[in-house]
Amino acid sequence: MKMKLATWATAAMMAASPVMADLVFPSMSYRTGPFAAGGIPFADGYADYFTLLNERDGGIGGVKVSVPECETAYNTEKGVECYESLKSQNPLVLQPLSTGITYQIIPKSIVDDIPVHTMGYGRTSAKNGGVFSHIFNYPANYWDGASGVVNYLLEINNGDISGKKIALVYHNSAYGKEPIRTLEALAEKHGFELVTLAVDHPGQEQKSQWLQIRRERPDYVTMWGWGIMNQVAIQEAANIRFPMENFIGVWWAGAQHDVLPAGEAADGYKAITFHAVGDDYPVFDDIQKYVVDAGKAAGAGDQVGTVLYNRGVYAAMLAAEAAKDAQAATGNAEITGGDMRDAMEKLTITEERMAALGMPNFGPEFSVSCENHGGNGLVGVAQWDASAQEWNLISDFKQSDQDVITPLIAEDSAAFAAENNIEPRC
């Protein structure tokens, strides 16, 4: 039995490595599992933007784009399988959309010369490009997010939150634990009290955490959640009648599917974001015309304009722009992962550039350098309007507290460099 399956798999593998002459932007998606609700819109947006480029512009620089999809189900073992099978197709950039899988492939991607873009997730200290040569996390990372939440609270409290109590409800994993260090440093700086409450994977059971919140009576609750955990948390918050406007989620806890199950009760819930919400942009008209109406949309095609769909489009746009830069820099239409990495390290996104792409004001302006793989860390805040069923930006993209974050990034990346004997490049 063992031998038979192995032979079968060999035959399968032999036949399954197609020759690709396209620009390959793999999508490590998850359309199944506890996080599918978030994975589907992101994967759809990512694929649709590249389909748009193929249909409207004939690809990037005249070369067609292909987006092979690999289902990870947010599972690290499947992520490894995906990484190994995608590696042979000369991918230009990987977007694992999972902090766990990101940790897995950080060391491998450096060896295999494949850039990884972990937009708003992954290992925060990858911002230090001197150590993490192939990892990019522009335009913002978790620590920017944590600081963005605190900055917003400062803003609405006239700059003083000393003595306030802020609770962090987090997914008990590498992802959820990321902001704790920054929040602790910020608590010291601004004099607020931090209460941390861990929620075990997948997060369907949060009664005890919210009971504790009811007992502790924090002034504000912030949440590092994902997938099913968000919906449950917002429902539980509604159940204990926690005022929604004092409940602020990270950008992975601020999409339509997170708030819709709670209905009217979710009205006023806030979430930070690093890109615009809504579908009022010219690019979406093009997507509608060239992709959705042409019947070429990924998935069910019903996600256009949702928050995470926009994030997928944004990620695809940043990848496509870097690819254009790489083509311009090398003079070759067909680029490699190495060229792509060099271009990503020099990427500059300006307002004009976004406007030309039909995405004016879609995200913050930023530029990447060897020292800074994380962009400028501008964070905005959006609020859910349950009656209109839409997210609205209530606070524009503002600078996070780099005084606190920069030393933390230096410390954590130095630890990684020491562990792996990496000599910082810059």
């Binding site: 039995m1 063992k2 031998m3 399956l5 192995a6 079968w8 798999a9 399968a12 593998m13 036949a15 399954a16 998606s29 359309r31 199944t32 599918a36 589907i40 999809e69 690999c70 289902e71 189900a73 599972n75 690290t76 073992e77 490894v80 399988e81 190994e84 099978s85 590696k87 042979s88 902090t99 766990g100 940790y103 897995q104 950080i106 060391p107 491998k108 450096i110 060896v111 290992r123 008990n172 994993s173 590498a174 634990k177 990321e178 704790i180 260090r181 861990a198 075990d200 994977h201 998935g299 954590d412 630890a415 562990e419 792996n420 004997n421």
Partner: protein
């Protein structure tokens, strides 16, 4: 015609009692070993190693370990994931140098162990923890024991998440395997060669399988089986249930710990306890031995192969050949694997190992069945 003992004369007791007394069987075993050790390392690539062979070998070790406990000794355990986590974290601590603190001060730090001994220490530590959690088995049986081991599963995962000493105080709570080599050949870390990691795991798998096979054929295995079949009768004929059950827990946990250590250090390289060693892992390994065959070493291999390779094969066929959407294939995969499990349990409750036994029996009489 094939596979018969006719003409196969044993002249010594050793020959008569060897693992594969039938010549054809023995040669087949040698051929498999030869291919695995000599041929595969030369043709292996990254995809083969990391997607198929490493998980297969590592899960096979875990399945052998659990099979000793459940299949041979009859003590149902749902704590496999937790015990694998013990192996992984022990291996990590020994790899990076165990630091002992007392009253906020560093008392001493052990030197960093070689990766080989780190994996062994992963097994040893897990054996100790396994014995500890095996103690309730002296009083409780069956479903109740399963619940007790379930407690071990949740407690251990909670512990590794909670106590930052286990992950060397890293901000994310992840453990990352640093680069380590054996005789100058890298075994862990990103720059490893596929043949090196494969041979490293293969070595452990073969040793574990041979040890397990011989243990289960010998006195201790017979004691375990006596306990499994009827513990009171076993006690009356002189089997000490305390020793038998605790040795089963110790040996089983040792193997599971080895597999956890390899799973973390060699296969994944970075691990997060809740995601990698959750309750689903316990069930996965339990399904492996149920499908493969309880109380059979071959069954452990067959079950591991079935549950590791089948999803990959289905994915390759569905997505890469037929070009179906990935989510449809992922869902179909669940349906097909689930359906096959149900089918196996109905048609062959003793698992793949029994199918193999039946096939051998048929081959023995072929082509003239009576």
């Amino acid at each position: 015609m094939f596979y018969r003992e006719a003409g196969d004369f044993s002249t010594t007791y050793a020959e008569d009692q060897q693992t594969f007394p039938i010549k054809f069987d023995r040669y087949r075993y040698y051929v498999v070993l030869f291919i695995a050790i000599v041929v595969v390392p030369f043709v292996i690539n990254d995809y083969w190693a990391n997607s198929l062979l490493l998980p297969f070998l590592i899960y096979a070790i875990a399945a052998i370990g659990l099979n000793i406990l459940v299949g041979y000794c009859g003590q149902v355990s749902l704590g496999t994931g937790g015990f694998m986590a013990v192996g992984a974290y022990a291996c990590y601590k020994f790899m990076t140098g165990v630091d002992i603190w007392w009253g906020g001060e560093l008392l001493f730090r052990l030197p960093e162990f070689n990766i080989f001994f780190s994996v062994i220490m992963g097994g040893v530590m897990t054996a100790l923890v396994g014995v500890l959690f095996g103690l309730p088995s002296l009083r409780i049986k069956g479903f109740y024991l399963a619940v007790a081991t379930l407690a071990a599963q949740f407690f251990l995962v909670w512990l590794f998440n909670r106590v930052s000493w286990f992950y060397n105080y890293s901000a994310s709570g992840q453990i990352n395997a640093p680069e380590r080599d054996l005789f100058g050949v890298l075994i862990t870390g990103p720059s490893t060669e596929p043949w090196a990691t494969y041979l490293f795991c293969l070595f452990f798998t073969i040793v574990c399988a041979v040890v397990a096979r011989n243990l289960t054929r010998g006195a201790s295995g017979r004691k375990w089986m006596a306990i499994r079949d009827m513990d009171i009768a076993a006690e009356i004929i002189g089997v000490n249930p305390l020793r038998a059950k605790l040795t089963a827990f110790a040996v089983s946990s040792f193997f599971v710990g080895i597999s956890g250590a390899l799973f973390f250090a060699v296969y994944l390289g970075a691990v997060e306890v809740g995601e990698a060693f959750g309750i689903t892992k316990s069930f996965l390994v339990l399904f492996m031995i149920i499908i493969g065959g309880l109380g059979s070493i071959f069954g452990s291999f067959a079950g591991a192969a079935f549950l590791v390779l089948l999803p990959v094969v289905l994915k390759v066929v569905g997505v890469d050949w037929l070009g179906w959407p990935t989510d449809i294939v992922a869902h179909l995969q669940l349906v097909i694997v689930g359906g096959l499990i149900v089918m196996f349990l109905i048609l062959e409750p003793h698992g793949l190992a029994q199918l193999w036994r039946v096939a051998k029996e048929k081959l023995r009489l072929w082509p003239f069945p009576h």
